[in-house]
Amino acid sequence: MPRRKGAPEVNAGSMADIAFLLLIFFLVTTTIETDAGLDRMLPPIEPPDQDVVIRQKNIFTVNINKNGQLLVEDQLMDLKDLRNAAIAFLENGADGSCNYCKGRKDQSSSDNPTKAIISLKNDRETKYSTYITVQNELVGAYNDLRDREAQRIFGRDFTEMEAEYLNPETPSSIRDDLKDKVKRIQDMFPQKLSEAETTSN
């Protein structure tokens, strides 16, 4: 009896069909996530123990009405000018103690970036997209200033450093080094964005 030549070959012709089936299954059941956005902290509900006295000139008020118009420091303003107005307010440095500020040192505007507060108010009928645009511009104002200082001190953008610091894939040795740098820039321009309860009328 002649010996067989090994096992018979399995027909792999339908392999492509099986793989296609799997591929289509994954295409249908999954999504490419678009999870990125503006990070914000809400104020805690308990009021602070003692009242903090904040001078009016250290507050930059931004009001959005239901038509999406902006009232900034009691003046009507176009959304496109908001970022520059916020930057001018933040780095005004009226008390002269801020040596990295390039503001006009206007006595009627903020004393110091660490004291400057941006207060955002909106109407209940304000559109969400307008609100996000305003938030984006205000966060952008902080980021622009932080980027400028980070460029001056460390020679790279703050947003890039922060993204690398927050990325879990960054090795911890680099992360420890970045932590101090990020902290230092954040302390120069602390993000103080207060959101009061909305008005309804």
């Binding site: 793989a19 994954f26 999870d35 914000r40 809400l42 997209s129 996000i132 309804s200």
Partner: protein, 160 residues
């Protein structure tokens, strides 16, 4: 004449499809790695606004999602066209948000419970009134870290 017939007879050699499974598997693995499973189907319209100053939401296990928008076409007959909140797979009212957050938080492992982020996926046509109510609810249950999920793009496109 013989020349012509010969040409007609000579059929094209079949293209080898032996490497087709490999190609398809490659595609399959690509999609398996870059995508994630859908966790809930959307009942609301969800066109997010654009923003430029965005940060990526790393670590999906630390995120609780809240969807807001007007109900999709098929639900509009029942729920109307006013923007609604969607928690998991169903519509909810504002006062359910707090308990939902607490329930979701209790499901997470202990060490993650303090570092959770609430991702607000809000349709750009929604009104701020509803968002303010949600924010108030979040403050009440001390879920203070929020992320307004957006697409990356010029923020001024939102206004059109």
């Amino acid at each position: 004449m013989a020349k012509f017939t010969k040409k007609k007879d000579g059929e094209l050699p079949a293209v080898s499809t032996a490497s087709l499974p490999d190609i398809v598997f490659m595609l399959l693995f690509f999609f398996m790695t870059v995508t994630t499973m859908k966790d809930s189907s959307l009942l609301v319209e969800n066109t997010l606004p654009n923003a430029t100053e965005i940060k990526k939401l790393e670590k999906k296990d630390r995120v609780i999602y809240i969807y807001v928008g007007k109900p999709t076409q098929e639900y509009q007959k029942v729920f109307g066209t006013e923007p609604k909140i969607q928690l998991n797979d169903k519509f909810a009212s504002v006062d359910e948000v707090g308990s939902y957050i607490l329930a979701e938080r209790a499901k997470k492992p202990q060490e993650l419970q303090n570092v959770l982020t609430t991702a607000l996926k809000v349709d750009k046509n929604a009104n701020m009134g509803l968002i303010t109510d949600i924010k108030q609810q979040l403050r009440e249950v001390n879920a203070l870290k929020v992320n307004y999920t957006t697409y990356e793009g010029n923020a001024f496109n939102n206004l059109q």
